[in-house]
Symmetry: C2
Subunit: 185 residues, 2 copies
């Protein structure tokens, strides 16, 4: 919990004392780089019956269409991360309406939190990681050029939910984000 | 996405090409250690109106009581991680009933997915990270010796939900865990 931020020397794979799995450990200072699953945050963004998609300008799956989504950064919340990704990839200002789905991709050690959101402003534009952005009606979605299976799953989940209300998970009590005096679990 | 698993030389903080934030980068091979938020998975485990708690045998907050919860490991799903933690910390076999809460601790770059679960077997025992485990009625919970605020929040969330049904988030379509041929988002 009181991890240092940086190994000082060469690191190697070994089982630290008291642990039961191999970790990356610095030979000089004993710093342990825990290689943990990564969180992807993103959203199905709707606007007047159409869906916001971004055509990827980067690998993997360059040229294919995806949702505005990406890896969470340090020191942000999941919802803030989804807002940031919509801005970075599509210059889109969005409002999150609720949680649509949680996908697990254990092969990639990835957990995806996908929100349903609405577009606040039609002025969208490709960010540095997108070649093109667009709003598509369901039938016009480029189904043959979708980047990842979870994009299909997310769109299907949104379609299934339809006019339903997405889940608003219980979250931190008011006033308890970012100013805790004790650690987490 | 096609990350190597190990830096070969000394690492330093720098902004990689095409990125907009400092990362840990190996000076020899260019390996980038993305320092991402960590996922904590855990559960409020109930058994005949009592709650399973574990007294911590490790820092931080050694000697204080917590839920069975901890960092997700690579190549597991969130629910599998919660089952593993219950086993490792309390030798408890549990069944997950649904998602109780999502807590964000941005100061620690932590996202906590807390499930509601029921105990399948009364045979519980402290694992290596617990000094003691116990089943407590609400009034007997050692409220003055709780390890972390999110333990209180989780117990409160469970109490508030009461006889309600916890959320079962939409998740991967059947047959689509761990055998995907394409990457995630």
């Amino acid at each position: 919990m009181a991890e240092q931020r940086k190994p000082r020397g060469p690191v190697d794979r070994t089982v630290p004392p008291g642990d039961n799995r191999e970790r990356l450990v610095c030979g000089d200072c004993g710093y342990i780089v825990y290689d943990n699953p990564k969180i992807v945050v993103g959203s199905v963004v709707r606007h007047r019956g159409r869906y916001l998609l971004c055509r990827r300008a980067i690998e993997p799956r360059i040229g294919f269409w995806t949702l505005p989504a990406g890896y969470m950064e340090l020191n942000e919340t999941t919802e803030a991360g989804a807002l940031r990704e919509a801005w970075e990839e599509a210059q889109a200002r969005i409002e999150i309406e609720g949680l649509l789905a949680i996908y697990n991709i254990p092969r990639l050690s990835q957990v995806q939190l996908i929100y349903r959101a609405r577009l606040l402003d039609e002025a969208i534009a490709p960010g540095p990681e997108s070649r093109e952005v667009g709003l598509f009606s369901w039938d016009d979605i480029p189904w043959n050029e979708i980047a990842f299976p979870s994009v299909n799953w997310s769109l299907d989940a949104d379609r299934t939910l339809g006019d339903g209300v997405p889940f608003r998970p219980v979250t931190n009590p008011p006033g308890n984000v970012g100013n805790l005096t004790q650690g987490g679990l």
